[in-house]
């Protein structure tokens, strides 16, 4: 169901966590709240869930005003950053919890839990305790537990933050596919722009308790509204007031047509990507991103002097 947040503010003591924030999330969308730590993204998620109350503003879920409604009656599924497993219960009982407290018939609970454990690929681990699971398995258990009560919306707080790189990659992919399958409106919080770009259909960039920009990953990348979004959503070179993406710096075999000279300081091979660190004639340092193939073609070497063409730089009104 659609989620709307209107003019929400929240203070913790003297710290302003959220300052007049409004967002709208369409029914069935997969949205990322992206920002550095302290940007207010987790607070916003917790306010939507009813785990915090806003000082001002309203939240609606599926058109119903839920401000003041306790978390237990909001019909949200929440996955905590550290999974918040019930440590004294088996995986089976963890997933069944929401149905058990609703006093559903035993047969129904069993069938539903079985189905969910298959969905999150934990069938066979039903009798284990959380202490016997890996991080990725705990994460999937937490997700199954949240989905068991058929929530109207699914909220995930830094869902992949505590996992190692490989598992994180697999789970992202899997969450994406799961969302295609069950189509529940989903918001997840992350500080990792790559994760947001890869998984989300819509990204809300937050900073200092405010929303900097909201849009599709492509919109944010191609037309960032300000320097914060530009530098948070991808790598940048800063040239005075102007910003240039490293992949927009062209390295050419010969000078000509508004090129300038640059000295190659260092070449970093990152597989497909090659990072070329350059010093411009005026002493400014930039780096360019080229593919492995073009680096080979240009026969790049450290200490070499090259011709580069800078793109029209982007300048934001301050």
């Amino acid at each position: 169901m659609a989620i709307e947040v209107h003019n929400v503010s929240k203070q913790f003591g003297t710290f302003t966590a959220l300052d007049d924030v409004s967002i709208g999330v369409a029914d069935g969308a997969l949205t990322a709240l992206l920002g550095p730590s302290g940007s207010g993204k987790s607070t916003l998620l917790r306010i939507i869930a009813g785990l915090e109350e806003p000082d001002a503003g309203d939240v609606t879920i599926g058109g119903d005003l839920v401000t003041g409604t306790p978390a237990r009656s909001r019909g949200v599924g929440f996955v905590f950053q550290h999974y918040a497993p019930f440590k004294h219960m088996t995986v089976q009982s963890n997933v069944a919890f929401g149905l058990t407290v609703r006093k559903r018939p035993k047969a129904e609970i069993e069938a539903r839990v079985k189905e969910l454990l298959e969905l999150v690929r934990l069938d066979g681990l039903a009798e284990r305790y959380p202490s016997q699971l890996s991080g990725g398995q705990l994460q999937r258990m937490a997700l199954a537990r949240a989905l068991a009560v058929q929530p109207k919306v699914l909220l995930l707080d830094e869902p992949f933050g505590a996992l190692d790189a490989q598992v994180r990659g697999e789970l992202r992919e899997w969450l994406r596919r799961l969302h295609d399958e069950i189509h529940v409106t989903t918001i997840f919080v992350t500080h990792d722009q790559e994760e947001a770009m890869e998984v989300a259909e819509q990204i809300v960039v937050m900073n200092g308790g405010r929303i900097e920009q909201a849009g599709t990953p492509r919109e944010l990348y191609e037309s960032p509204r300000n320097e914060f979004v530009m530098s948070f959503i991808g790598p940048v070179n800063r040239l005075g007031n102007a910003y240039v993406r490293p992949h927009d710096i062209q390295i050419l075999p010969e000078a000509g047509g508004n090129t300038i000279e640059a000295l190659v300081q260092r070449i970093v091979h990152l597989g497909f990507e090659v990072r070329v660190e350059l010093t411009l004639p005026d002493g400014r340092e930039v780096w360019a991103q080229v593919t492995r193939a073009s680096a080979q073609e240009l026969e790049l070497a450290e200490g070499q002097i090259l011709a580069v063409r800078l793109p029209p730089p982007r300048v934001f009104a301050s």
Binding site: A71, R72, R74, F78, A84, F86, S131, A148, V149, V286
Partner: protein
């Protein structure tokens, strides 16, 4: 983005002498190993000696003296009507005071750990007060409030309720002196448990009550059990406060510790020792029960 030049990493060769420790180094280590072993042994001897002087010898002596002349005199001492009465009275007081303090202690721990309100620090100090105040003072204070001339004295007398010199007063005194244990043992466990699991239960639709019984209590049960054991031990052994509010009426308001004191003062050494042994065995049984309980339940949740 700024580029940094290649950082100089110096690979210094291994110091002369190579990987094998020299003879002198080995000797030095040998003596320091010996010294460490001697130190460790010394600490153990001191610790054991301390325990022996303070605990093992006196308690051992009581057991020895009690059973010195066989079981028959012990049996007749503990089956004396006043001894029996003291035994059951002690159990009765524990059976009332411990559950009261358990409920209060858990509630207090939740309030202090999960609540957000003014004066929390002051409240935290207040529940520690029974640790700081001498039990005799607690007893006197209770007499002042609930005694015949006390604040509620008239009202209580009119309604036919006797607190001082009877069981209610003794339960009160016991409850006061053993008040902080459950809360103090539960608070750190509650803090470590965190509130994530409770919040998860809430988002899954559990009421506050369901969350408490299904998530919070199972999470803190070891802290609570330990608190209950300490409370029970303290309640069983309480002397000062109970001594004042009970009036020490033989066969009526004598708990086991009071009975031991009474027998001792009346030169009934066998009676005193026998009752003391019963008291010690009760405490031991409590500890044992906790041990068995934790071991069995932990076995089920073994990781």
């Amino acid at each position: 983005m700024s580029s940094s030049g290649p950082s100089a990493i110096s690979l210094s060769p291994a110091p002369a002498g190579g990987l094998l420790p020299s003879q002198r180094e080995r000797e030095a280590r040998g003596t320091s190993d010996g010294a460490a072993r001697a130190r460790k042994l010394g600490v153990r001897v001191v610790a054991l000696a301390y325990l022996a002087v303070l605990l093992i010898a006196p308690v051992g002596m009581i057991f020895y003296r009690t059973f010195e002349h066989g079981l028959a005199p012990v049996w007749s001492a503990v089956s004396a009507p006043n001894a029996q009465n003291a035994f059951w009275l002690s159990l009765e007081i524990v059976a009332i005071a411990v559950p009261l303090n358990t409920v209060f202690g858990i509630g207090m721990a939740l309030l202090l750990e999960r609540g957000r309100f003014r004066g929390k620090a002051a409240l935290g100090m207040l529940i520690d007060l029974p640790f700081a105040i001498s039990p005799v003072v607690v007893g006197l204070a209770l007499v002042l409030v609930y005694g015949k001339t006390g604040w509620f004295g008239d009202w209580l007398a009119q309604n036919g309720i006797q607190v001082i010199f009877s069981v209610p007063g003794m339960v009160l005194a016991t409850a006061v002196v053993s008040l902080p244990f459950v809360a103090r043992e539960t608070i750190p466990v509650l803090r470590e448990l965190g509130s994530d699991a409770e919040q998860a239960a809430a988002t899954l639709g559990a009421s506050g009550w369901q969350t408490f019984w299904r998530v919070t209590l199972p999470g803190i049960r070891w802290g609570v059990v330990y608190g209950v054991v300490l409370t029970t031990a303290r309640a069983l052994g309480e002397f000062g406060a109970v001594s004042i509010v009970s009036g020490r009426i033989e066969g009526q308001t004598q708990t086991l510790p009071l009975y031991v004191q009474d027998r001792f003062e009346n030169f009934d050494i066998t009676g005193a020792y026998a009752a003391a042994v019963v008291l010690a065995l009760l405490a031991l049984a409590t500890l044992l029960a906790m041990n068995l309980l934790t071991r069995r339940t932990r076995g089920q949740v073994a990781s």
